[in-house]
């Protein structure tokens, strides 16, 4: 099924090819003698799990990094790409996963910064409007970036590349911020580009999308190119196994208990937005039951941060009776007090929010245990007790550590996430709230974390999982609700709803339907 990288010799030279590209950061080999090629008019996927080296590779191509060894060829000629400016001059456009936009500047100004000097703002605005009509990418040149939705911002990024007439367009994980409908729109635009002769390099780890959009895929694993395959002829499982290098076991879900006791009831959670960049929460109500995983699906930026803050206690609603846990009103309690009544929280960002990178794991254990009695006596920390807790978590949740009580920063992303999730699960909380539990985590760790969450639910706790990864949502959730622009849909059993329906809700259609009814 897999072919080793074949030499290209056909009539037209590849738009871009790389031979033996190597890049190391200290001891870590991000790219190891990677070779690659892409033809004009081809939509080619770059596949691999987190940490496999995809981002590094495209940064080498775009000139943001310089290779230690190897050579890049453009249109068949060897080139040295010294920086993004030169990459753009050659005809390479790049849309980053984390947009490189300037929030307080306008669309036109943002685009102007990516283009060579000489064009004034007015002329550029006209060109933007023309291009926007041609491809159906609705953009207002005078709008400020901070006022645009994420999907619109991405269109600005794409437009920015288009206006330089690239021969190669690179997109780094573009669909992680889009609804399924917006994804379809993007794909049709990309297919148009390809028909016009542009080559598209599409980085993703979403196998369904890759098989829908691309013709060939190059798989990176641990910095090496392990093969270029024909995407139409491989199943998801085959691609996944190529990415991981071994057989993967599925997470099997157990069915939810029939009669379920309510553990946590949220009623009329309402939060006005404090700044222009935040989202208002609009009278959200839902119930999390014992033994169930309730997934709150939705694109980032629709109120997830606000709900997390309300549930963890970092923000407390001004009125009473909004958040009940086992019948007790916890609305007014802070995070430390909430932990005492059996709440466990895992925030989305493990670096600086869920854990402190510069502190040891035992101190990170203290972070969510200090109000629970064992670790602090009369204001004085019991160092031995914190170490015991950390050691237990490390042992039970298979956290790979380089030394006895290491700094959190020395753990890999997956292992730190296992620690941070395990730190809460080990307390058997009545309610576990977790956001993006497997973001940026390798497949093995992701499976392990999802298994722990299911086991916790099976033991009778309630779990609320906020996730923008639909694959994950459908893998382990018993119930699903969708968050859009601060409004929550009804809670639906996972078995009764399809990904397409969820996608529509994520895009806000339900609200529109109600409005027009």
């Amino acid at each position: 099924m897999t072919r080793p990288h074949a030499a290209t010799s056909l009539k037209t030279p590849p738009v871009l090819s790389a031979v033996g590209l190597t890049k190391s950061f200290g001891d870590f080999r991000a790219n190891d003698a990677v070779s690659f090629s892409i033809q004009p008019g081809e939509i080619h996927a770059l596949l691999g799990e987190n940490g496999a080296g995809k981002s590094t590779f495209v940064k080498l191509v775009y000139g943001l990094l310089q290779p230690d060894e190897g050579q890049i060829f453009w249109q068949g000629q060897p080139v040295h790409i010294s920086g993004p400016l030169q990459a753009r001059q050659l005809g390479i456009g790049m849309v980053f996963q984390h947009f490189s936009l300037f929030e307080s500047l306008s669309v036109a100004e943002n685009i102007q910064l990516a283009l060579p000097a000489g064009e004034n703002l007015a002329a550029l605005s006209d060109r933007i409007r023309a291009m926007s009509d041609a491809y159906g990418l609705a953009i207002d040149p005078n709008a400020y970036i901070h006022n645009l939705s994420v999907g619109q911002q991405q269109r600005v990024e794409v437009m920015r590349c288009l206006l330089q007439n690239p021969s190669l367009l690179i997109m780094d994980e573009p669909t992680s911020v889009l609804t399924p409908q917006e994804t379809d729109q993007l794909f049709s635009v990309l297919r148009q580009f390809a028909e016009n002769g542009m080559a598209v390099l599409f980085i993703s780890h979403k196998l369904d999308e890759i098989r829908a959009l691309t013709s060939r895929a190059t798989v990176l694993r641990r910095g090496r190119n392990v093969g270029t395959v024909d995407t139409k002829k491989n199943s998801n499982r085959q691609l996944a196994e190529l990415m991981v290098g071994r057989k993967i076991a599925d997470v099997t879900r157990q069915s939810a208990p029939d009669q379920s006791k309510a553990v946590c009831v949220i009623k009329n959670l309402q939060k006005p937005k404090p700044t222009a960049f935040a989202v208002t929460l609009n009278y959200i109500s839902f119930t999390a039951n014992a033994g169930e995983i309730l997934a709150i699906a939705g694109i980032a930026g629709n109120g997830q941060d606000e709900i997390m803050a309300a549930l963890s206690g970092e923000w407390r609603p001004p009125s009473a009776g909004v958040i009940m846990l086992d019948g007790q009103d916890i609305s007014h309690l802070g995070p430390a007090a909430r932990r005492r009544v059996g709440l466990g929280v895992v925030p989305e960002e493990r670096n600086g929010h869920a854990a402190i990178p510069s502190m040891s794991l035992s101190y990170n254990a203290l972070l969510t245990n200090h109000s629970l009695g064992k670790t602090v006596q009369h204001g004085v920390i019991d160092g031995a007790a914190t170490k015991v807790i950390a050691a237990e978590v490390i042992d039970r949740f298979d956290v790979r550590v380089p030394s006895d009580d290491p700094m959190a920063a020395s753990l890999s992303g997956g292992n730190l996430q296992k620690f941070v999730v395990g730190r809460e699960i080990i307390k058997s909380p009545r309610l576990l709230v977790v956001a993006q539990p497997t973001w940026g985590v390798d497949v093995g760790a992701a499976v392990s974390i999802r298994k722990s969450m299911l086991e916790l639910a099976a033991r009778g706790s309630a779990v609320i999982m906020i996730s923008q990864d639909l694959e994950e949502v459908f893998a382990i959730a018993h119930k699903i609700a969708v968050l859009h622009d601060g409004c929550l849909s009804d809670v639906m059993p996972a078995s009764n709803v399809t990904a397409e329906q969820v996608g529509i809700l994520m895009g806000g259609a339900a609200v529109m339907e109600e409005a027009s009814a």
């Binding site: 031979v19 310089q66 050579q71 854990a355 972070l367 920390i381 020395s410």
Partner: protein, 368 residues
């Protein structure tokens, strides 16, 4: 092209070596500046760092000079660890001295035994109140505490100037801006070791300073409050997640820092001057900032750092007398030292690599 990658682990060895290297570099740069300005570099360095210690009782005086620095810097450590930039210690020292002086001079009928504790309390309250102004403004209005606390140092200096020249001036001071002298009970006595006698100017304030540093070290490293301070400084989001309040932490560390600075002011006046005058802080509030950094924000390190800086201060006096160098030259040393310490911090946290473009030109293409 210098590239920096964060180090995963910071060895203890490196942590201790860096301040020493910083001091060495400071001496070198200082010597160069002296030479450029026409002073003999070696003689200058000798006057600065060796001469002040040539007699045993001078070592005791070193501790006396370090005393206000140690007390103030210990308080500043709490603030800086919490990322609260209290730059106004200079003003808090003054206000502490003023409040203690108020008690000493104008509270009638206090029995001698209670006078000193009352003065200490007043000094703490005075310093705390002055530090709480930027604190409250930061917590309620999100105002930048650096500029507010700094502005208040100028205000405090003008305030004490007015007091001492105006309503609090001793009518018998022949027009000099001085208050009445404190009573005996309001003064801090020299330490009298039975059998040895007094050691230079060593007074009980020094003992208090050392005790304070040890207590602070315990609080920072072993208590939940100390953990809170460190967490809120390093990762405020994690602190909020853990249940710590940013507002309470800010107010707390400013109270500690203000109280320490206030006490330092009171100690300086009661141990060395015996009365209030327009200048009671002598820049200690700013010098303490450097002491805190030299100590790498560690309360125990504050003792050693305080002694090093005190040496430089004494050296400034000695260089002025022996070589005619203006007193302000210690400011040059302090500034350079702070630069070197900050650079050392970078070398600690990052691995620096200098890469030349030549190495990055790709060699001839190699096959897979």
């Amino acid at each position: 092209m210098i590239s920096m990658t964060p180090r995963k682990d910071i060895s203890l060895q490196r942590t201790l070596v860096t301040p020493v290297v910083s001091i060495m570099m400071t001496l070198c740069v200082g010597a160069i500046i002296f030479a450029v300005l026409g002073y003999d570099p070696l003689a200058s360095l000798y006057q600065f760092f060796i001469a002040p210690l040539s007699r045993p009782d001078q070592v005791a005086d070193l501790f006396v000079k370090a005393c206000p620095l140690i007390i103030t810097a210990t308080g500043l450590v709490f603030c800086y660890r919490a990322n609260v930039w209290n730059i106004g210690a200079e003003g808090q020292i003054v206000m502490g001295a003023v409040c203690a002086g108020g008690v000493a001079l104008f509270v009638p009928g206090l029995p001698d035994m209670l006078l000193m504790p009352a003065m200490i309390l007043a000094a703490m309250v005075g310093g705390m109140a002055w530090a709480l102004i930027p604190g409250v403004l930061k917590v309620r209005f999100n105002t930048n505490e650096i500029l507010v606390s700094l502005m208040l140092t100028y205000v405090a200096a003008l305030f004490i100037d007015w007091l001492v020249r105006g309503p609090w001036r001793d009518p018998q001071s022949f027009g000099f801006p001085l208050t009445k002298s404190y009573d005996e009970a309001a003064l801090i006595q020299r330490v009298d070791v039975p059998g040895i006698g007094t050691l230079g100017q060593l007074h009980w304030g020094v003992v208090a300073a050392l005790v304070l540093a040890f207590v602070a070290s315990f609080v920072i490293s072993r208590t939940l409050f100390g953990f809170q301070v460190k967490v809120m400084g390093d990762a405020p989001r994690a602190g909020a997640f853990s249940g710590f309040s940013a507002a309470r932490t800010t107010i707390g560390v400013l109270c500690i820092s203000g109280a320490c600075a206030g006490v330092a002011g009171m100690v300086e006046v009661s141990a060395n001057m015996g009365q209030l005058q327009p200048e009671v802080s002598f820049g200690y509030g700013f010098t303490a900032i450097i002491v805190a950094f030299l100590a790498r924000l560690n309360p125990l390190g504050v003792i050693a750092a305080g002694l090093v800086i005190a040496l430089a201060e004494l050296g400034g006096d000695s260089a002025q007398m022996a070589l005619g160098m203006p007193k302000v030259v210690t400011g040059v040393f302090k500034g350079i030292l702070l630069f070197m310490l900050l650079a050392g911090e970078t070398f600690n946290r990052f691995q620096l690599r200098i890469s030349w473009p030549a190495f990055n030109r790709a060699p001839a293409a190699r096959g897979r």
